[in-house]
Amino acid sequence: MSTERSSGNIIRYTKIATIIALVLVVTGDVFGYIITEYISRVWAERSDTFAIVTLSVVYYLGTVGAIVVFINLYRLLNNMSKDIVFDVRNTKLMTIIGITCIFMGIDCVAGTVAWFGTIYMAVVCFFMMLVVFCVKAVFEKAIEMKEELELTI
């Protein structure tokens, strides 16, 4: 199997995985009130209104962030499948994903007032943000090199 075909398949599978993840998040949004109540009562072992409401707000804000991340990830993969790889449009999408990761991290940190367990999600979000910004920096360098190569006569 050629490298081009293999990377094309990886992009296709990642697009499918992104769509599945997006559907799961939307489903999670629909049943959010049940999930947050479960998290609050079983995981956080708190049944007071403050904990349930706080975790609900954190949960819904988090899912909004996840939807933004998945939509932009899908757009990024879509560009890549059209052979638009080292392009400013992709770095802009990465910026949106990275900033959304920061907001999701802050959201999870805020959730610790109700349940300390959300701090682990915050760590994951901040780590994801670092990875995304590193990839973005690599793409920016590649764009610069591509422009230089294109203007070498």
């Binding site: 422009e147 230089e148 070498t152 006569i153």
Partner: protein, 67 residues
């Protein structure tokens, strides 16, 4: 900055852009990038072909100017 005086040499040799591009084996669009100072680098191979076809030295085409 480095200025490419290709227009001057082409005028001296009475050679059109199309003809020079064809002779040195690059597209007219790329020759235009060179003439309009948009190029970031010039291959020695291209410079060699320009000098051969315009019968000149690299110094006749490339010039250093204070910015």
């Amino acid at each position: 900055m480095i200025v490419i005086n290709l227009d001057v040499m082409m005028a001296k040799r009475k050679m059109s852009s199309g003809e020079l591009a064809q002779r040195i084996g690059i597209t007219q669009a790329n020759l235009s990038i060179l003439k309009n100072q948009k190029a970031k680098a010039v291959r020695l191979e291209t410079l060699d072909a320009i000098c051969r076809n315009l019968d000149c030295q690299p110094g006749d085409i490339l010039e250093y100017r204070e910015e």
